[in-house]
């Protein structure tokens, strides 16, 4: 599950027509490709990097701009200030929103994994659910969340979990279960059956096999899928919008949408709040990127 094995990366080079001799070289080896393909590749990569980075850099800049500059025609601000940041935190409960987002995402991730892992094991090993169970589960994710909004609203209210972190985490956790199951499927199926058989011989029942044997082996996948689930929930907007009312439960995307529609233009503060919300996730992604990229890519595409 490493990022790139030698054959793979050198394979990457041969894809664009470099000589097979390059495949024998390790990282950083000289390539024999026609120069124009290399130049083209560099151009594409640079353009991509700029395209993906530009809006984020702009957001950072806006968060430091003064209100005058935001609405003016100047490209480069006349001066920078921290006032958006202090204003965002003063006028809006940004810290609360952030805390809520983190709690809900973490709790939902745990819930989703707790439900998905046994299910995946049962599907991969115990033939539970039959042939079409995966299709059924995945199709639950296909429909846009707007379908579920009103019925869930009514259900959550009936159960008395409206405007609560528990209720929100539960709903969000349940909603990412299909994704978690789908992504974990390959990881579970890649565990060789011999291992199960060995555990069987040792006298383990299916559950013990799952916990003691299979789980450690799929752990990297679980981590990756956990991160994906965390991010999906963290970024969610519609469900928190409908199920939370007060700043003790509203998440950051909802909070930022509430910054519009007042009397003043709040772009600077929205930028500062957005950035605050994005930083934890970016850090998470940066630190976990090896797991994330490896796990994500290994699991889903075959």
């Amino acid at each position: 599950m490493s990022e790139s094995t030698m054959p793979a990366e050198s394979f990457g080079r041969t894809v664009i027509g470099r000589a097979p001799r390059a495949a024998a070289r390790r990282r950083g080896g000289v390539s024999f490709a026609p120069r124009w393909t290399r130049a083209l590749k560099s151009v594409v990569v640079v353009l991509a990097a700029v395209f993906f980075l530009l809006p984020i850099a702009y957001l950072a800049m806006v968060s430091f701009m003064r209100p005058d500059d935001i609405l003016s025609d100047r490209v480069v601000p006349s001066g920078l200030s921290w006032q958006n940041w202090s204003s965002a935190f003063d006028r809006f409960p940004v810290a609360d929103y952030l805390r809520n987002s983190l709690i809900v995402a973490a709790a939902a991730m745990v819930i989703a994994l707790l439900i998905a892992i046994p299910a995946n094991y049962a599907m991969a090993r115990l033939r539970a659910g039959g042939k079409n169970i995966m299709t059924v589960i995945v199709s639950a994710y296909v429909a846009p969340p707007i379908v579920a909004i009103v019925p869930l609203f009514i259900l959550v209210r009936k159960v008395g979990l409206m405007d609560s972190l528990v209720g929100l985490s539960l709903v969000e956790g349940l909603m990412v279960v299909p994704v978690a199951i789908w992504l974990l499927d390959d990881f579970f199926r890649n565990v060789p059956e011999e291992i199960d058989e060995a555990a069987q011989i040792d006298g383990c029942g299916p559950i013990a096999t799952l916990v003691r044997v299979v789980l450690p082996l799929v752990a990297p996948g679980v981590v990756a899928v956990g991160i994906v689930s965390f991010i999906l929930v963290y970024n969610d907007f519609l469900i928190p919008l409908m199920l939370s009312y007060s700043e003790s439960t509203q998440t950051l995307p909802v909070g930022i949408s509430l910054m519009q529609g007042g009397r003043e233009v709040m772009y600077g503060q929205m930028a500062a709040a957005s950035f605050t919300g994005m930083i934890p996730v970016y850090l998470l992604a940066l630190f976990m990127q090896r797991w994330l990229i490896g796990g994500l890519t290994q699991g889903s595409v075959k």
Binding site: L114, V150, N235, M278, A285
Partner: protein
């Protein structure tokens, strides 16, 4: 893909295992029931009735609302708009993703840095992505207009989100920005896992770059591309946050995609019955589009595993 063989039965027999299996999968099934089956049933029922948000199921109206959802010009238009958004967004993401994946070389440090950079749009909550791009597109004070005006290229502000078809195009651009990295990562992994021998054979044969790509790379990576396409189409049909933040369905109704239209009907007009009917029409559309792609995909995968 390794197929799973059942765990060898112990003396209790497979029945005990099957019970345990069902017990383990029960929570997942319950989850699906709560978040998908129940809402679906509710939606179907409510679309046959006259319902408002506070007084659901006031009376039975039969097929009337559903027929309207499929035939009314405005409703049809919103469904078409979803299509208009999802398909180009998905196809472009996949194509651009393929180009970038092909160009990516993790051997170099630059390549690794770019891969990390590409995680960022994926991590960005769509609401915030909408806010950022809305700022960039703004007619006064927006980045693009400021740059264009500053460079003397335009005398009047260019309306990105305030005119059509620019508004829809801009939404697609933002969606591409957000999801292409996803495609890149998946396609890149697929590229990395392809067998070398075929390439070496092609090289020995003296095939050029384009020829190699067309006859060797592309067919091999096609199953993965179709998988990514399917995922991306599903994701794109769900778009809501971007429309909510950037255009509210405007200008006029030009970006009033089906998901947003349902939101408006349910939560601004409080007409639950009509919203339910529109939802059904929407689900039908999504199925019509996704099903062929899924079938294509399984056919490719089966063909691939046979080879």
């Amino acid at each position: 893909m390794t197929t799973a063989a059942p765990v060898p039965a112990s003396a209790d027999g497979p029945r005990r295992h099957r019970l345990i299996g069902w017990a383990l999968i029960a929570p997942a099934l319950a989850a699906v029931a709560i978040i998908a089956a129940y809402p679906l049933v509710y939606t179907v029922l409510v679309s046959f009735s006259k319902s408002t948000l506070g007084r659901p199921f006031q009376s039975w109206v039969g097929w009337g609302q559903i027929v309207t959802a499929f035939t009314d010009g405005g409703q049809l238009a919103s469904i078409l708009r979803s299509l208009e958004f999802a398909v180009p967004a998905a196809v472009l993401s996949v194509v651009i993703g393929l180009v970038i994946a092909l160009s990516l070389d993790t051997a170099t440090r630059g390549g690794r840095v770019v891969r990390v950079i590409m995680l960022l749009p994926l991590m960005t909550p769509p609401v915030m992505a909408g806010v950022i791009w809305k700022l960039m597109f703004a007619p006064t004070g927006g980045l693009f207009n400021d740059v264009l005006a500053g460079a003397g290229l335009v005398t009047e502000p260019v309306l990105f989100l305030g005119a059509s078809p620019a508004a829809m195009i801009c939404l697609i651009v933002v969606d591409i920005w957000q999801w292409t990295p996803f495609c890149v990562l998946l396609i890149f992994a697929a590229l990395q896992s392809m067998p070398r021998e075929v390439y070496e054979a092609a090289q020995v044969d003296g095939a050029g770059v384009w020829r190699t790509f067309r006859s060797v790379t592309f067919p091999l990576v096609l199953p993965s591309l179709v998988t990514v396409l399917m995922l991306k189409v599903i994701v794109s049909f769900k778009v809501f946050d971007l429309v909510f933040v950037m255009t509210s369905g405007g200008p006029g109704l030009d970006t009033n995609v089906a998901s947003f239209n349902v939101y408006r009907t349910a939560l601004q007009q409080f007409d639950l019955g009509a919203a339910g009917a529109q939802t059904i029409a929407f689900i039908v559309l999504v199925t019509i589009v996704v099903l062929p792609i899924a079938t294509w995909r399984s056919r490719l995968l089966k063909a691939g595993s046979r080879a």
